[in-house]
């Protein structure tokens, strides 16, 4: 099981802040494709790869990254700290 966490407008559009899933995906991009097939909300949210970022186990990463060791994957828009 992997925990998926959503922030900001991604959380609002998917309609939940987190969920636990089983997946056969081995990379972030495969996981995104899998989620997009699940429901139209995911395909809308993840339609533009440039509009969001991803972190595995609380570390910023890229879409090709392996999720084999992932316990927690977070999706969020570009950060706006400061």
């Amino acid at each position: 099981m992997i925990d998926l966490i959503y922030f900001s407008w991604i959380r609002e559009r998917i309609g939940k802040s987190s969920e636990s899933i089983e997946t056969r995906a081995t990379t972030i991009i495969e996981l995104i494709e899998e989620l997009k097939k699940k429901d139209v909300r995911y395909s809308e949210v993840f339609s533009d790869l440039g509009s969001f970022r991803v972190a595995i186990n609380q570390e910023l990463t890229n879409f090709d990254a392996s999720i084999i060791e992932a316990k927690e994957i977070a999706f969020f828009p570009p950060m706006t700290g400061g």
Partner: protein, 147 residues
């Protein structure tokens, strides 16, 4: 190194006083405070700041550690708030102390540039009862390349 991620209001003058009172033999102290822009400019009701607990603290610590590696600074302070903030309230502050002003200024700027694009915070502005997520400015990511 002093890092605080908090919802509570902070008084920046007291924080600066507290930070500087623990320092010895410094020649320069630079501070920056980010404030929720007031109602006069755009009729803002309030601002909501969301963050990623755990990752936020880790990311800020990594940014501050990198700052220590790059500049000869004596100490650094980062306070960043989350939750509901009213116009005029402080959002965050950084302070850097060094022997000389160049190091203190540059370290503070570096901290600000990285906190802006690498610390997992998201801001929502509520204007006339309607919420809008603040997008990253186009120059924010580009600002990192100068370092």
């Amino acid at each position: 190194m002093h890092i605080s991620v908090q919802s509570e209001f902070f008084d920046f003058s007291k924080e600066v006083e507290n930070f500087s009172s623990k320092l010895d033999n410094i020649g320069a102290l630079v501070t920056f405070t980010g404030i929720v822009r007031g109602q006069k400019s755009k009729n803002l009701d309030y601002m909501l700041i969301e963050h990623y607990p755990g990752m936020t603290e880790t990311q800020i610590k990594l940014i501050v550690e990198e700052t220590f590696k790059r500049w000869k600074i004596c100490d650094a302070l980062v306070i960043h708030r989350y939750g509901k903030l009213e116009p005029g309230e402080p959002i965050m502050m950084v302070a850097t102390a060094a022997q000389h002003r160049k190091e203190a200024f540059e370290a503070a700027e570096y901290l600000m540039d990285y906190l802006k694009s690498r610390a997992p915070f998201w801001k929502k502005e509520v204007l006339n009862g309607e919420g809008n997520w603040v997008g990253a400015a186009s120059g924010d990511e580009a600002a990192l390349s100068r370092w």
